[in-house]
């Protein structure tokens, strides 16, 4: 018995909302509008390689990279503690990590604006404590903060899931063979958690590199990232051709880095986690 027909609603959905849009994007990116209608051209792609846009690309990657590194530094120990703790609070901790994700992404980011602004919660607390106030809203730091805050669970959960599946007797075997805590971690636990790390990095880096909400709200529009650039082309400049070209270029970039990542993780483990 096969229930393949049960997939057909999804197939229709996929064609309408994924395949057709991609074809449209390809079409727009490879054409320019003239008085006589649409004409084939690679101008849109050539334009993308102008220094001003490459700089935007570079800055997007840079910020996303920093955010990913911070997520990793914060997320790995957290995942490790979660996975190794066998006390009853583990589920509560995971809940605490996941609950913010139930709230709308935009709202969460707006909330950070009210925390960080000049007369915001953070500075009120600081002045109560008679500490100098800081103004980090509309800086790179605020953008990175927003990325880390929003994407941290995507780093923690895959690492936690891999760590908690490591056979405890493998760890005991390493101790038995003379490895102290540090060596056990370095030679056994960390290598075995790599698939989770890879998938965590991917799941943080990808959305971070293409975000436009965080950079616009917390960066105050001073930081045009690749996502903002695409948004502008479609909503403000109405240059759909160029917008499509950037989108396609980003897609290629993302697919390439995913391919590199899965090479890293080894053929059989790969990105199967998500």
């Amino acid at each position: 018995m096969s229930y393949k027909w049960a997939a057909s609603p999804y197939l229709v959905w996929m064609v309408i909302f994924i395949v057709v849009p991609i074809i449209l994007v390809c079409y727009y990116s490879l054409t320019v509008r003239t008085d006589a209608g649409f004409r084939f051209s690679t101008d849109n792609f050539r334009r993308f390689f102008e220094p001003i846009y490459l700089k935007v690309l570079y800055r997007s990657i840079e910020l996303a990279f920093v955010a990913t590194v911070v997520c990793f530094i914060l997320g790995y120990p957290l995942a490790y503690i979660l996975a190794r703790s066998d006390f009853k609070h583990t589920n509560v901790l995971i809940m605490l990590l996941v609950v913010p994700m139930w709230m709308n992404f935009l709202l969460r980011t707006y909330a950070w604006m009210t925390i960080l602004e000049q007369n915001g919660v953070l500075n009120i607390v600081l002045s109560w404590l008679r500490l100098p106030t800081i103004s980090i809203l509309y800086t790179e730091a605020a953008v990175i903060l927003g990325m880390v805050y929003n994407f941290l669970p995507f780093m923690v959960l895959p690492i936690y899931s891999v760590l908690s599946k490591i056979d405890p007797s493998v760890v005991e075997a390493a101790e038995d063979l003379g490895a102290n805590g540090i060596i056990v971690f370095r030679k056994v636990i960390f290598p075995l958690s790599l698939p989770g790390v890879i998938s965590g990095i991917t799941m943080v880096f990808m959305p971070a590199v293409t975000t436009f909400v965080i950079s616009r709200l917390l960066g105050g529009g001073q930081f045009t990232l690749i996502g903002n650039l695409i948004e502008q082309q479609f909503l403000y400049v109405s240059d759909w051709g160029f917008g499509s070209a950037i989108s396609l270029a980003m897609m290629v970039l993302i697919l390439l880095s995913m391919a590199v990542m899965s090479k890293f993780a080894g053929e059989d483990r790969g990105l199967g986690l998500w």
Binding site: D167, S169, V170, E172, A173, A174, D176, L177, A179, N180
Partner: protein, 348 residues
């Protein structure tokens, strides 16, 4: 006997108030093959993990070469373990798995290579260096696990049901191989199993455990022939265990019949457990038997037939190479030295 290498003194272990081990006293001598034998949940694995350092005894002392090692972490103990499910490192090949302990000791690469190759030869896996561990069969993984432990030249090797996952034929081969390795390398083995046949085949000393307590310590022959109580008798090989009464020295009554026996020193008319091995009951024509019964079932077991013979309230297990058909009336003869008398446990 030789010097004592590991001693457990009054070791007890509680898990959240549940008693796992109770007052274990055990001496393990150098070059000895000791087997901890018992049903699951009897505390044999816990005992092994306490020796390995993975569990701390609640009370009592673990002594290694006359020094207490209670607070020594596993990585500082001169013992190595072969784990139940092998616990090989899945991200390393066979060579790196075996070399793991040597690399931690920071030996020279040539020395490591020499030792690993030697060890691979010993466990019949030469040429498997580059293989991934998950591409090996169960028996091969087992050998890698043994090699990984032995290459560190431990004073004591702990083995936690290492053959449990293998099929019968492979298990029997490995039993002999392990015994051979133990003898040729001169290492003390502490072996955990619930398989009494395995224990009898390999051990110098068997420690029978039940519900966290040691029931009997002895050589395989002692344990088989002179079980201390009905539990040991039942666990080591099949047994008929019946209630009896010690009428006086050298005379016991069970199954409504008085038998001569070789045991003495019980009180007059003391209730006792009587243990008789199935192979010690001889089937004879009905008129010649001490007990009479009817054959209820017959199962072919290879070398012998296992027959259930009903006599009054008891059903006797009898092993014999000659088959008696179901329903036939038979007599049973038991000679005095095959009747083992044990004090009732609960009153002890």
């Amino acid at each position: 006997m030789a010097e004592c290498i590991i001693e457990l003194r009054n070791v007890s272990k509680d898990y959240d108030g549940t008693e796992a081990l109770r007052d274990i006293n055990l001496k393990i001598y150098r070059n000895e093959f000791v087997t901890l034998l018992g049903p699951s949940g009897c505390g044999k694995t816990t005992t092994l993990r306490i020796i390995g350092g993975f569990e701390q005894p609640t009370t009592g002392e673990v002594v290694f070469n006359n020094t207490s090692i209670n607070h020594l972490p596993p990585y500082k103990r001169r013992v190595n373990t072969v784990f139940q499910r092998y616990a090989l490192f899945p991200h390393m090949n066979v060579y790196e798995n075996i070399a793991f302990g040597l690399r931690i000791k920071k030996l020279d690469e040539e020395v490591i290579e020499y030792k690993v190759k030697n060890m691979l030869k010993l466990v019949n896996l030469a040429g498997y260096e580059e293989r991934k561990v998950d591409s090996l069969s169960g028996g091969q993984q087992q050998r890698v696990a043994i090699a990984r432990a032995l290459v560190n030249e431990p004073d004591v090797l702990l083995l936690d049901e290492p053959l449990g996952a293998l099929d019968l034929k492979l298990r029997q081969d490995m039993q002999l191989e392990l015994k051979h390795m133990q003898q040729s390398l001169g290492i003390t083995f502490v072996y955990v199993t619930h398989d009494q046949e395995e224990a009898l085949t390999m051990s110098d000393t068997i420690v029978v455990m039940r519900e966290g307590r040691i029931q009997q310590i002895g050589t395989p022959i002692d344990i088989y022939n002179e079980p201390k109580n009905a539990f040991v008798a039942d666990f080591i090989g099949e047994s008929n265990i019946v209630d009896g009464i010690m009428v006086r020295d050298y005379l016991v009554e069970f199954a409504n019949h008085r038998f001569e026996c070789v045991d003495a020193g019980f009180g007059e008319n003391e209730p006792v457990d009587v243990v008789i091995r199935p192979e010690d009951i001889k089937l004879v024509p009905e008129s010649e038997g001490m007990l009479r019964g009817e054959v209820r079932s017959v199962v072919f077991k290879g070398v012998h037939y296992e027959m259930m013979v009903e006599n009054g309230e008891y059903v006797w297990i009898v092993h014999d190479t000659l088959m008696q058909p179901v329903g036939s009336k038979v007599g049973m003869v038991i000679t005095p030295q095959d009747i083992h008398i044990m004090r009732k446990e609960d009153q002890g």
